[in-house]
Symmetry: C2
Subunit: 372 residues, 2 copies
């Protein structure tokens, strides 16, 4: 199935159901996908949620988002000119839709056209040097002229320099909070300029959500996930941009880094990335040449609805206890768990889903799971 | 045959003969090796030189260095405390001896012990930045502490910074001119400090030879050839240090480069080297880790005396004309020439040697030859 050519459009009722599901307790993007795979529709999943959580050993029933709250959120989004889009809908960045943990509903503000074009992320330190800011601007301008939409995080420093230079050709800001909670606040004007120039802003968080520290790494996966690759311009050791680079690598995106003097601490992170295999960038053509072959490949959605068993298998006898027993605080590969459990993959997945909805399971990406 | 373990010592007569041979017209390091391979001794080669050149079509007889001139040079070297050493003798850098075009006699001044230790070259622009000079010093100091002798070209900028920081642990200056023609002249003092601290200087040029522009690239092959690898610190596009890096790669030496900002023209060359596969260096351990596996491998001399046919085959009938006819101004691979000539390799080599001694053949390295 090719995500790019299969443009779907949700009905109002289905959008409400999906919004209720993703806004319910213990349902993240991965659990959402498991539930959709199992039940085939958000409506059926919502109906079965309390029972599954109880079987997973939930101490108390998790909150399920009711229809009224979902309708209220949707109405507020409309007033704020934010569309809540599902993967596969026009305006949902096609590459973002290919992620295992793609947001089930993405808040999109601005021109959706910009979100359907090839994107490249430019990120870097907030405390950037003059040379770093200048280079980011040059690179964003040249990549924009070559047809790429510039993606970044609207932060101070490198992010804003890349956005500003990308305004003319189209740029997308990825937010860590709700669309009405811009961080840093002084960049509201920059965001307005981005939107006015046929750019866009995206967020998976509800309106009113104030961004907290832990929301930024989570947001960073959207920056890399929506893009063909990530260019890191100036990053000290252990900086946030390196998290974006790591996520990009995990997502199979290209990682690019701009070199700097070994005596410049702001280049320590980017030089390290190059040592680890990132492509060295001194000009836009370095990025373009590396991405050309990738752009020619068709996109693939992860296993979608209907590709898995449509209904959950009911664990029999001691199967559930046996699977829970194999789990612990140390992450284990799902594949190993299935082999060791001596039951069917579908039963293991069902038990994991129950544990997840009971708030007892953590998914780590790369197919790793652990008990909380 | 392991060059490191086979330490030879020439007799005085053999050293005089070899000096005469390498100081004769149209005899470079490669021709010298061919002649030694063919005739087994410098004495026999000297005797046959006029006849070979005549057969190669020399318009007039090339000058052959006479014994008196050779003795005079050797005596001057002694007064200047310069030893003329052959590959395999103690004090001749073992890795340098493995080159196809290793100097048949190398002028060595200073402490020969330093020339037998593992070497690393540090080179870069004469017009270096403060950061570049500082980094070169740090790197040379740390590599020196790790047991490496620092090799460089005694130039202004990066070279002198590396030499200065390498004095404490041992450093070797590779000269483009004779030992009594130091360039730049203001570095005579630096060279004296290097020698006084158990370092050394090497040159393949006779005393009194004033270095010309074309001597520097030729000298650069000795910098890389004597070393396990070459670190390039700051180099603009098309700078001399890049020639050293290219020679290092051709010689199978490791190439290292120090990154810099894309906006710094002095980093353009080094960033390019990294794009082409050079190892990025921000600290000494980057160099050390890359060299460790190489240092464990035994050294191999190129095919030495006695490995080839001891006497030249005499070309018969039209063989010589046929081979000359296959040659032209466009370089051709020796192997291709042998195949196309339809004669024995030994006959082709003999004809090439004759042409070389007649001043009509150019050898390009990589087994390529052309008519001049």
């Amino acid at each position: 199935m090719d995500a790019i050519n299969t443009t779907i459009e949700l009905t109002e009722a289905e959008r409400i159901d999906r919004l209720r599901l993703i806004r319910s307790d213990n349902v993240g993007p991965r659990t959402f996908r498991s539930l959709m795979n199992h039940f085939g529709s958000a409506r059926l999943a919502l109906e079965r949620l309390p029972e599954l959580a109880r079987r997973g050993g939930a101490a108390r029933a998790g909150r399920i988002c009711n229809e009224e709250d979902a309708r209220t959120e949707l109405a507020a989004c409309k007033r704020f000119e934010v569309s809540l889009l599902a993967p596969g809908e026009a305006g949902y960045p096609p590459r973002l839709a290919t992620l295992d943990d793609a947001p089930p509903l993405l808040g999109v503000r601005g021109t959706t056209d910009s979100l359907m074009r090839p994107m490249i992320a430019i990120v870097g330190s907030r405390n950037a040097s003059g040379a770093g800011l200048k280079f980011s601007g040059q690179l964003a301008r040249n990549l924009g002229e070559a047809g790429f939409v510039i993606v970044s995080g609207l932060a101070r420093g490198i992010d804003q320099a890349a956005h500003r230079a990308g305004i003319a050709s189209g740029t997308v800001a990825v937010l860590a909070g709700g669309h009405d909670r811009i961080y840093p606040p002084e960049h509201e004007e920059l965001l307005a300029a981005i939107i006015a120039a046929e750019g866009a802003a995206i967020s998976e968080m509800p309106l009113g959500h104030e961004p907290r520290a832990r929301d930024f790494p989570r947001r960073n996966r959207l920056i890399s996930g929506a893009s063909l690759g990530v260019v890191v311009v100036e990053a000290a050791h252990r900086s946030g941009s390196l998290i974006t680079a790591r996520m990009a690598a995990e997502q199979g995106r290209e990682v690019f880094a701009v070199p700097g003097s070994p005596l410049d601490p702001r280049a320590a992170g980017t030089n390290d990335l190059i040592k680890q295999g990132a492509t060295l960038v001194t000009e836009a053509s370095d990025v373009i040449h590396a991405l050309e072959p990738i752009m020619e490949r068709p996109l693939r959605l992860p296993l979608g609805e209907g590709d898995s068993d449509p209904l959950p298998s009911d664990p029999q006898g001691d199967e559930r206890a046996r699977i829970v027993n194999l789990l612990g605080p140390t992450p284990i590969l799902l594949d190993d768990l299935i082999r060791m459990s001596d039951t069917s993959p579908s039963i293991v997945r069902t038990v994991l889903l129950e544990l997840e909805l009971a708030g007892r399971l953590e998914r780590h990406g790369g197919g790793l799971v652990s008990l909380i």
